[in-house]
Symmetry: C2
Subunit: 422 residues, 2 copies
Amino acid sequence: MSMHKNEERLESLQKSYEQYKSQNLNLNMARGKPCPEQMDLSNGMMDVLTSKDSLKSTDGTDLRNYGGLDGLPEAKELFSKILDVDTDEIVIGGNSSLSMMHDSIAQAMMHGVAGGEMPWAKQDKVKFLCPSPGYDRHFAICELFNIEMIIVDMKEDGPDMDQVEKLVRVDESVKGIWCVPKYSNPTGIVYSDEVVERLASMETKAADFRIFWDNAYAIHHLTDEPKEIKNLLEECKKQGSPNRVLMFSSTSKVTFPGSGVAMLAASQENLDTYRKNISFQTIGPDKLNQKRHVEFFKNVDGLKAHMKKHAEIIEPKFRAVIEILDQQLGGKDIASWDRPDGGYFISLDTPEGCAKEVVGMASELGVTLTGAGATFPYNNDPKDQNIRIAPTFPSEAELRKAIEVLCVCIELASLKKTVRAS
Amino acid sequence: MSMHKNEERLESLQKSYEQYKSQNLNLNMARGKPCPEQMDLSNGMMDVLTSKDSLKSTDGTDLRNYGGLDGLPEAKELFSKILDVDTDEIVIGGNSSLSMMHDSIAQAMMHGVAGGEMPWAKQDKVKFLCPSPGYDRHFAICELFNIEMIIVDMKEDGPDMDQVEKLVRVDESVKGIWCVPKYSNPTGIVYSDEVVERLASMETKAADFRIFWDNAYAIHHLTDEPKEIKNLLEECKKQGSPNRVLMFSSTSKVTFPGSGVAMLAASQENLDTYRKNISFQTIGPDKLNQKRHVEFFKNVDGLKAHMKKHAEIIEPKFRAVIEILDQQLGGKDIASWDRPDGGYFISLDTPEGCAKEVVGMASELGVTLTGAGATFPYNNDPKDQNIRIAPTFPSEAELRKAIEVLCVCIELASLKKTVRAS
């Protein structure tokens, strides 16, 4: 663009900016929250267990009393299908897979894991690989435990495995890696078979290395052609390293966040360690809520049908975001964004050094985005360019407005940068 | 008794023993589990929330979505009454107060607590005072974290405070004490005002000393004259040491174990620490289950009325145990037992060196008791004399049979001991 045209465009954008400002908007796209209509889909779950039901498990356990530390048989049966494992390879927990991940790391720090010589906390240093952009709450757990985070680049089919292989081969203090293998948070990418195979077969210096496989969006498809990933636990078993992976998921974004059920799938040895640790820690999960889930879905087909209804509600929102981004920013060479087939986010890259400014500008206009940097360890995006868009919670009308605002902010920030540079 | 009479009695007891053996009994008094009739009392809780209800909190929060890390306002309102604290002095958690206790210790080990210079795990040694007999799962948490346990004698009105005061005054590594202040597990004793006051005012060498106040049986009365204890948090505030105490309770034995709600009451600083720690660890508690509890009880009167129904079911069982013990062992000078006014246990002392033998003999007859030693740190009752009786779960008929068996075993073991000694 010529200097003159730049100035004209800047003026026009600034006018839009002021107009939005006068509207006193209050739109929030910060967190991956289901919208009320999505939660309505599960309201029926409130009615499936009543005082007239037997409130017993298939194995005869009284669901109202103590017991059942690692989950109901019927819950294992149903939810093992989400992670594609056998019913004896899964533990069904409480209401939060984040807790299971936190606890797994806390336990490793305090008590160590199978294959390790000592608790992680007793070692000089513990490091984790963090494919980035990634999930802020994973990184927060590392910060909590003083685990040093090493950024690994995210590619179209998963983390840059050349980087990963190199880092784990030489450094014994590298004890783990965070992965969201399907419809990744926030980039929406799906790990390729090759990445899964390399994760299973790579040589690690640390004998107690663990892959934290947060398959949060395993069944959260946006299209009619569900993406499938290779089963990492199977691959690890084939490679003789069955203890390498801990797989997590939950129904937080299937039924009700806060009242869902979480799960951990792993090798027998890892599950035994986990069961032993939690036997000190809890009287067991809420069995009635597990039963409620099982009764509500009946079987995996019920679960899949339910997820289609979620997609019907949120897919148009994802489409609206992409549509507006295409219309307003397409071809301008100032931003790039993903077109995810599932999950909860759209990841957008601004020109380098603009993300913070854009998020700040949007905030001034009443549009709250996930903080710039949140998708990187230590809240620090080295290129200051990644923005995470969470389209599910707002109504489509609010969302459209918010994305329009975002587009104006991005173009404005990028144009200002160009003008400054010229 | 004369030698001859001893032998006669021994023969008669051995005959009884063989008779019981032939009955192939299968009676379990090992754990403090509510019986099915007790859980029936809460069945109505399954019906109070349906898909037709608003599923919103009093503050407008959608109970079905993320949020509410430290509990619903209406749950704080209701359950603060159990621990006799203000609504801003309590956090309502998940389904297990054991988890809140474990997590509080784990957090102290990893991250330290207010007033401390460093995390407990970084210190050479961490010790806890364990008034004994006490609760095995408290002791198990200490073992898990390599916390050295020091036995303190239990008296009629709480731990021997002379011992406690001496130990905490001189040793900086003594970081905590376990207390079940009301209807103690297993002795059923209730802490006196003097004990509470001394706990609040005693001088501790460790600035980060904590009293783990597990008020599990706060409202679990067996009589119409509920025992009350002095409020330790208030006492600590008066003494200028508000951070000294963490108070726990739950509805595990009020509604459904596994599907109850747990709570932690403490100073603002302690609660802030706890809230910060759990913000890394969980997406928050099950708000729907908290609401279910509130709707079911309505208010503290509803809660009290509910607890009377529990007492009506289990008080006759406690009475039956005491009655049989009185009849079969009374005046024989071979055992002593408590007559608790609440809680879940009856604690019985055999002659020294007999508890393990008695529990083993009972087991041979098909009567499972809590393992001898379980009520002491490291599973080691130095005098081998304490047996914990959990009368709530079996039917009254089963219970009577089990206690008859127990009495025979006690008399037999003690007589054998006398004969051996003579």
